[in-house]
Each structure stands twice: as C-alpha cells, then as structure tokens.
C-alpha cells in the first residue's frame, strides 16, 4: 500500500512539474529583441500593456533604440560610411497580412522605423531607398536633419588616420588593406580569396 501511495505521489509530482514546465516555457503576449537593449524592450512591453498593437510595440520599441542610439549601432550618429555619413536601414512586418514597409540607405531622417511603417501604411511598395526615401519621409512629416554627431565624426577621422582600415573593398588598386581610396579595378585582376574572419563585432553589426 505504501509503495502504491509513493508511486501515486511521484506520478502526481511528475504531472505538476510537466504542467509548470510547459507554462514557464510559453505564455502570450511575448516580445523579444536582439541584444540587451532594455529600454527598447520596456518601451515595446509598455505599448502592449497599454493596449497598443503588436506593430505599435515593434515600431515604438525599435524607435526607442533609435533615440537612445543603442550601442552606437542603431540610429543617428553611428557607423559612418566611407564618406563619413550615417545612413539608416529599417523594416517592419505585419504577420497577419504579410505587409512589409522598409527603408534602406535612408539619409537625414532619424526615425527610420517610423518611416518604414509609413511605407507600409501609405504606399503599395515594400522598400524605398536613399535620398528618395528621405523625400518620402519629409512628405510624411518627418524632419530632415543632420545625422552626424561629434562621435561619428571622430570615428570617421580615426578611420581616415588609420589608412581607412578596416574597409570592404577587395581586388582593387591601390591595395585596400593598406591605403585609402579612391580605388579602381586593376589592369590585371588577381582575385584574393574572400576574407574569412568577419570585421564585424558587437559594436559594428547589422
């Protein structure tokens, strides 16, 4: 009798643990984001708690990172290109309708995810790029402003002082691993194998 009782208790315990395990593994709503960007997560969660939609949560969460310049890898004043300019890429997707709005190489507009949302809501297109995307943004009421900061300027100067290293050209003259550009195609091409070690890091990524 005692053995049977023990077996029953063990079985009950197992069922309880399994249920608890399942519950801890899954509950809705859920919001997740890459990297330890706490304020972005808090903003998205707050939007949901206040009755906002999932799209609102994504837009405001990512938008918070643009304001905070998360890690220097989001928003204005980070990752200057070879000419020292900061450009932004953003996208938003509605998993109910499969609608997408996106901007790439966006210049002079800070709220890239906001513009992406407007592409989704006010056009039949998916992706707008470059200065034309900026003009669209202005039409949608976003301010046109300088994305350069003291930090991005100093990153750019440092890069110039380091003979433009690292950079993303290959098989060009002058040798892009030693010299700044302008680069051009060599008379005779000797293709090097693509670099296998990524130049990206936790502070330099998409």
């Amino acid at each position: 009798g005692r053995r049977r009782r023990r077996r029953m208790v063990a079985l009950l315990l197992l069922v309880v643990l399994q249920v608890a395990g399942a519950a801890s593994a899954a509950a809705l709503p859920v919001a997740i984001n890459t990297w330890a960007f706490r304020k972005a997560a808090e903003t998205a969660w707050r939007v949901l708690q206040l009755g906002g939609s999932e799209l609102d949560a994504v837009e405001k969460g990512c938008g918070q990172c643009e304001i905070d310049q998360c890690d220097g890898s989001v928003g204005y004043g980070g990752s200057p290109d070879e000419s020292g300019e900061t450009t932004l890429d953003a996208m938003i997707m509605n998993g109910n309708t499969m609608e997408v709005g996106a901007v790439a190489d966006l210049r002079h507009v800070k709220n890239a995810i906001g513009v992406a949302r407007k592409v989704m809501e006010y056009t039949k297109h998916t992706l707008l790029v470059g200065e034309s995307a900026s003009l669209f943004a202005v039409r949608m009421g976003f301010p046109y402003e300088d994305l350069t900061t003291q930090k991005s300027l100093s990153m750019y100067s440092r890069w110039l002082n380091q003979s433009c290293q690292p950079n993303y050209w290959k098989n060009v003259v002058p040798d892009s691993s030693k010299s700044c550009g302008p680069y051009k195609r060599p008379q005779k091409v000797t293709y090097k194998e693509e670099q296998t070690i990524s130049q990206r890091s936790v502070h330099n990524h998409d």
């Binding site: 801890s24 593994a25 899954a26 509950a27 809705l28 709503p29 859920v30 919001a31 997740i32 984001n33 890459t34 990297w35 330890a36 706490r38 972005a40 997560a41 808090e42 998205a44 949901l48 939609s53 999932e54 994504v58 969460g61 998360c70 220097g72 890898s73 928003g75 204005y76 980070g78 990752s79 290109d81 070879e82 450009t87 890429d89 953003a90 996208m91 938003i92 997707m93 509605n94 998993g95 109910n96 499969m98 996106a102 190489d105 995810i113 992406a116 992706l127 990153m155 890069w159 993303y168 050209w169 296998t196 070690i197 990524s198 990206r200 890091s201 936790v202 330099n204 990524h205 998409d206």
Partner: protein, 141 residues
C-alpha cells in the same frame, strides 16, 4: 542593430529592425536589416524571427524566413534558431551573427555562431511569466 519580434495574445505576430549598418561601409551599401526574411520575418500562422550580425553574409541565407519555416513545421524556437545558424556555418564558419525566434504559442529562443570574442549572445524577453523585461543569455554554437 535592433531586431524585434512581438506576438500578441491571439498569436498576431509583428517584427521589425532598425540599424545604422556597418561602420565604414561603401556608400550605398545596405545590409540584411531592411530585407524581409533576412533581417526579420513574421507570420502569424507560425511565429517570428530576427537576425543580427554580419548582414553581408546573413542576408544571403534568409535566416529569419528559414527560422519561421522551421517553426511552422513544429520545430522548437531554440532549435529553429540553431538550425539556421548551422546552415550558415557550413558556408561561412567564422561569420558573426545571431538569431532570435518565437512561435505563436509564446515559446522563444536564440542561437549564435561562436567565434573568438563572441561566445554568448544577450537578448531581451518580455512575457507575463516575467515580472519585467528580462535579459537572457545563450551560449553560441
């Protein structure tokens, strides 16, 4: 870059990304972030995913789309993320990247590629089971 996936109480899924891309890129360069299926992907019948890392490599594999498709077939989100990373590893063993995944039942996970200087990936999770948005960490594979 930030990539985000939000799944509502009824399973409605949305995703998004925002980035200033790679530092010192060639002007005109665009990474994976604004490309649907690459930077992120959402499908309310399966779940959502978002990727981060070296966009020049990752965008060639549409990792977010692939992860969602794995989850559609019932694969656990963590495993879906791991399978995506493994696929890229075969072609680019030293790529820098990570993926987050969540399905429409509220399960979630993440995976990353282990390279020198990048052995763990930190991400944020908000859920009714957590008292506040919480940082979580996965070991890279």
């Amino acid at each position: 870059t930030i990539g985000m996936v939000v799944i509502g109480e009824s399973g409605t899924t949305a995703s998004g990304t925002s980035t200033n891309g790679a530092a010192h890129k060639i002007p005109g360069r665009v990474g994976d972030s604004p490309i649907a299926g690459a930077g992120s992907y959402a499908d309310s019948t399966a779940g959502g995913a978002a990727a981060t890392g070296d966009g020049d490599i990752m965008m060639r594999f549409l990792p977010s789309y692939q992860a969602v498709e794995y989850m559609r077939t019932g694969t656990d989100p963590t495993v879906a993320c791991q399978k995506v990373i493994s696929r890229i590893q075969k072609y680019a063993p030293k790529f820098f990247g990570a993926v987050i995944c969540a399905n429409t039942t509220g399960s979630y996970g993440a995976a990353c590629n282990k390279i020198p200087g990048f052995t763990q990936f930190h991400f944020m999770v908000s859920s009714p089971l957590l008292s506040q948005p919480t940082e979580q960490v996965v070991d890279c594979i």
